[in-house]
């Protein structure tokens, strides 16, 4: 066996994207919004966080992106503590879509998307190519010259998604990437929700770690590798869709009677009330 093939057969442990939360607690204005949460997510996984309003979903996402400080416990990405990364390092491996985006200035859609390439020095030509592909992924290339402030809510959301995906575009040399999306399907129609989740699946296949907050349990069940169920700041359950989306668990957490049946064509649960 020659040397080259020996080297390629070694598992690239150091480069393997992995996110780990250990005994994480977070305070917001003195109230403990996350209590003692531990989980991990690895390259190639699409993890969906679900839970009732105020369960701490967005707070968990913000703590993972380093925006909210941990009161106790810690979050590591790629074996490094998130709080200790500097801003540009973090921006190169982590792309985040917040729940509320508010842009009042008349940028064009492509200008908004190009901001996603800010953390990188990959050259204008390459950046524009990446942005064009990202816009095509989210079906907003057709209106890339239009003014952002004049778009509908769904069109704005797609432009923001294209910006986040342009930031987390697969690199030429493999390096770990994390994509956090907070309710990315809000204000998207059915076909664009499907487009979004399929783009997420594709990025997971390209070895990124994706963590999404979703309210739609059926979308979560169909696309997630793993579901985290949050309730009152605590991690109530974590596992495959069939393990988490059970009638007893969901009825207890959401305080409403739910029925769970098998999806007619896929091996995943369908939840209805």
């Amino acid at each position: 066996m020659n040397k080259a093939s020996q080297e390629s057969s070694k598992p690239p442990i150091k480069q393997f994207a992995c996110l780990e939360a250990q005994n994480l607690s977070v305070l917001r204005s003195g109230i403990e919004v996350l209590k003692n949460i531990s989980f991990s997510a690895c390259a190639g996984e699409l993890v969906v966080i679900i839970g009732p309003n105020g369960a701490g979903k967005s707070s968990l996402l913000k703590a993972m992106s380093g925006e909210l400080p941990a009161a106790s416990g810690a979050i590591h990405i790629h074996e490094l503590e998130i709080a200790k990364l500097d801003a540009s390092q973090r921006a190169q491996s982590l792309a985040v879509l917040s729940q509320h985006t508010n842009l009042n200035f008349p940028f064009s859609v492509s200008e908004v998307v190009e901001m996603g390439r800010m953390p990188f020095a990959t050259g204008r030509a390459y950046d524009q190519e990446v942005c064009a592909k990202a816009m095509q992924t989210f079906d907003c290339y057709d209106y890339h010259g239009r003014t952002y402030t004049q778009l509908s809510g769904g069109e704005q959301q797609r432009a923001q998604l294209a910006r986040v995906f342009a930031q987390a575009w697969p690199k030429l040399a493999y390096s770990p990437q994390y994509i956090f999306l907070d309710e990315p399907n809000s204000s998207l129609d059915l076909s664009h929700q499907k487009m979004l989740l399929e783009a997420c699946r594709q990025r997971a296949k390209d070895n990124a770690v994706l963590i999404l907050v979703l309210h739609d349990l059926n979308l979560a069940c169909q696309y997630a590798d793993r579901i985290l169920l949050l309730d009152k700041g605590q991690l109530k359950a974590s596992g495959k869709p069939w393990e988490v989306c059970t009638e007893t668990l969901l009825s207890e957490v959401y305080q409403v009677d739910v029925k769970v049946v098998q999806h007619p064509s896929k091996d995943c649960p369908v939840v209805y009330i």
């Binding site: 509320h100 985006t101 200035f105 940028f107 908004v112 996603g116 800010m118 010259g145 930031q167």
Partner: protein
């Protein structure tokens, strides 16, 4: 496509600056011809002509250009910082804060600190007053999802009122000479600057433009939102402190030199955004030039339309700018309420 338009507008403004400057040199109580004006600039005209053009009109012209450029750049920066096209330094209390600092200095510096009243001291206290006001308004108007327009304007009103009251209080304790000085200066006046003052304003303008320009991309990202900018790798807190300091310094020095000249910082960035889009990489320099042009034009008008006396230029810019602001408010009504 914005890039090309931006360049064209930039060149157009540079070209416009020449004839407008010549015009400003030539007209006034004692109009002179263009060739006379050029002769006087080269020092070859007779004494009176030379005095009028080189020692009175030229310094005034230079100061108008510098102050206009400074006000427009600071306006652009503060609108970027607040992520709001209505955040003009004179509306959100920064100018009033700077003015308060300067008034306090004029009246009390000599009495309390027992030092001679110097221009630098006035500029420094104007800077401190402006910085205080901008930090205060920024902290008050910052909500969870960006700055709230209503809070920003209300906080601006409150801070302006407070600063105005303190200014009035200091006027109450001033003697006749100080009072005259304060009131002339508050109306906005571009005449009678020394070359040292113009050089210091020029140096500060270069610094402000330099620091804004190298942060232009980061300011763009900040328009997306604070956390968005953080996720794009921007050191948001550092950027905010830098911008507030630049605005306060720029406004402080302009206010110390020329009094409150409102609306340049609101109108110019707005017109520029309509022409070339909101990208700070092109907006900052274009706004600076636009501000220079507009204030030069306004000042030339102010000193010629009611000959033989002249209007304070601050009155004229407010007369022109306030209706513009009302139109702006009307067009943005849905977003504000």
């Amino acid at each position: 496509m914005h890039r090309e338009t931006a360049k064209r507008i930039l060149y157009l403004q540079l070209i416009l600056l020449l004839p407008l400057s010549l015009l400003a040199l030539c007209i006034g109580t004692e109009p002179s011809s263009i060739s006379d004006a050029l002769q006087a600039l080269l020092g070859r005209a007779d004494n009176t002509e030379q005095l009028i053009i080189r020692d009175i009109r030229l310094p005034r012209l230079l100061l108008a250009i510098l102050v206009g450029a400074m006000l427009a750049s600071c306006g652009t920066a503060s609108q970027g910082l607040f992520r709001n096209p209505l955040a003009d330094p004179s509306l959100i209390g920064v100018s009033a804060g700077a003015s308060m600092g300067a008034s306090l200095c004029i009246v009390f510096a000599a009495a309390v600190l027992d030092v001679p009243l110097s221009f630098l001291l006035i500029a420094l206290s104007a800077f401190l007053g402006g910085a205080l006001a901008s930090f205060l308004v920024y902290r008050l108007s910052l909500g969870d999802y960006g700055t709230s327009v209503a809070m920003m304007l209300l906080a601006g009103i409150a801070v302006s009122a407070l600063a105005g009251a303190i200014s009035s209080f200091s006027e109450f304790y001033s003697d006749n000479e100080q009072l005259r000085r304060i009131s002339i200066w508050q109306m906005g006046n571009l005449s009678g600057s020394s070359s040292m003052q113009r050089w210091s304003l020029f140096a500060l303008l270069v610094a402000v433009l330099f620091f804004l320009q190298i942060n232009a991309q980061r300011l763009n990202a900040l328009l997306l939102g604070e956390s968005e900018a953080r996720h794009l790798g921007v050191n948001v807190d550092g950027l905010k402190v830098l911008v507030v300091l630049l605005i306060a310094a720029g406004l402080g020095l302009s206010v110390a030199l020329a009094g409150i000249i409102s609306f340049i910082g609101l109108v110019v960035p707005h017109i520029m955004r309509l022409l070339i889009g909101p990208d700070h990489r092109f907006l900052i320099v274009n706004s600076a030039l636009g501000g220079a042009l507009l204030l030069l034009l306004a000042d030339t008008l102010a000193r010629t339309i009611v000959l033989p006396t002249e209007l304070p230029v601050g009155v004229l810019t407010a007369l022109l700018g306030a209706p513009f602001f009302l139109v702006l408010l009307r067009s943005k009504r849905q977003k504000i309420l």
